[in-house]
Symmetry: D3
Subunit: 136 residues, 6 copies
């Protein structure tokens, strides 16, 4: 049976701030620049969730994209229109860079995938930069 | 001489919260839903700035797009990676809905346009909704 | 009070066929080319629904985009994943060209707009062609 | 010699219906939801065809993209403005899910690639979901 | 009968240089910056051609988009993969700024539109700037 | 530590011509078609620069995207608004096909990456074709 990948693109908006409390204010300002602004800023995140496996011969589906969207929404619902530094229990202590977010989201999503296995997450912070993670 | 329009697309990211302090918390929650979340959320804004007029026959330019971007950056620099409710002097007392933002930004930009006249601002809050204003 | 426009982009997928039963098969084939194929074909339609008016000073909203999406969904729900020639009561007898669709959709949407007035509908049939209607 | 990948994006529009005749109508409705609608619906498909290999030192081309488009058009020409369930000989008996389509298209395209080897096909069903296949 | 607008998006790639031979080299360098580079540079232009009028009740078409593309291709064919300063007879003596191009293209296209009237041309020089002209 | 990829999308516009001086004019015309036009043509190039590695636990960054953009700008600055055949020292003798460009740019960029390792370059010549290289 052929091994195929299926991707669903989802969206959320959130506030965040890049700041490491273990560093001085000067170090934080130098490392993160405007991303360190104390009054928060935010982004429209686009996220591609990719699942890999063999299509079910009975349905032609590797995974029902409606079900995949539902489990993605369980995770996204905890971030959408929220503050990533303050509001998300599983991001406590995580500096919400795109790199760290994509790994943390993977850990939430991987066990929820209803069929096949999670193969890749791509997280766009802006239309011009993104991080991706494949579980390695 | 023909009358042409020239547009420059610019970008900024910002945090905001929709909240009217003159209303009760219940009213704010009902009207704004997740956009009322107290810990802020944010967006990648895209903005199209359109200037109208006759090209200068000597240069072929209606307006130098580098100069237009510079004056747009003067205004955007006060919003980018900032909190629209807290950090922007000319947004004090303004509920930062896309509708209100596009009018407030117009008032900042119109007098700065170096040649021609400001004809339209389109402000995308997400890839699926935007507000536009033509000064009427 | 400033007059602003607010747009919500919505999406639907549908099958159709361009065919005028008052013409001969030869005329239909010549006029519509592959769009006349008898076994149907289809598109992902993107539609921008634009409402014009003054923002409510109490909320900063010209129109609640959630409410606008709800009334758009009432209309779109009759077209999405359906056959525009066979399944939509208010398209009976209408050749489903993008031009005709955008006028028919206007007539459904205009009386449902919850605040402000419908100012423009843009209907993308493919990423490279669209029709727009402003009610004139 | 370096090994490079070259991609050509192509487009087609088609109608389809997700339906397995071996299942009951109730099972089909439950599994496929609105995609099971009997009067067909359709999509604008975007497809990225990727070829891998070493550029020809004489031309700088891995593969002439015009020739690649021509062979892609041989395959696409059998699907564009057609009904994937009824009109395509090599899709008879295939449930036209994006997963199944991408594998069937691969089997048509792989032997036609004029230079290099077919390395990946990505098939977008809508701007928010796609399937990809690399021949494994 | 309702008045509708129909748009076809077309594409061409071309080289150009912004330079006014009536000015000194210093003035040209100051006004046009890197766009004045003597060895040419180039762009992928996207152009939206919009026609306005009443749909033909017999066909549902305001204008056959295939015919519109054909007349657009007559004009574009003189610019695509060419040098706008050197190769296009009707651009001789025109500084090929986006503003000037959109007016010159209008003059070529307006008399060729097969049905309805040319209502707007939008010419994207890059994904972030464009000029538009409505014949005024 | 998880291994993540981070991508920055950058942009440049340039003129070029596909031509191999070792071939006859007839061969060049046949192989390259309009891309062989002697008066140059050009493109808006989009380039995705992807770096792979482990995020720095102190900052949450795999690589500072501002620093990555700076080194990309060192390379792009030699191509932007320039002629790829005439103006770029490290492209002398290289036929500027997208395949050859992506390898040559890799060789410039790989030693400059400030943290992690260069993992992929994707170079879009137009919105519908691109080349990618991973250093193999």
């Amino acid at each position: 049976m052929p091994k195929v990948r299926v991707t669903r693109r989802v969206h959320f908006s959130a506030a965040h701030r890049l700041h490491n409390p273990a560093l001085t204010d000067e170090e934080n300002a130098r490392i993160y620049g405007p991303c360190n602004h104390p009054n928060w800023h935010g982004h429209n995140y686009e996220m591609d969730v990719t699942v890999e496996g063999e299509p079910d011969p009975r349905t032609g589906y590797l995974v029902d994209l409606g079900e995949l969207r539902d489990v993605a929404d369980e995770v996204i619902g905890q971030m959408d229109h929220r503050n990533l530094n303050l509001d998300v229990p599983w991001l406590q202590g995580v500096i919400p860079s795109t790199e760290n977010l994509v790994v943390a989201i993977w850990n939430q999503l991987a066990p929820r995938v209803p069929r096949g296995r999670l193969a890749r997450i791509v997280l766009w912070e802006t239309p011009r930069n993104y991080a991706e993670y494949t579980g390695e």
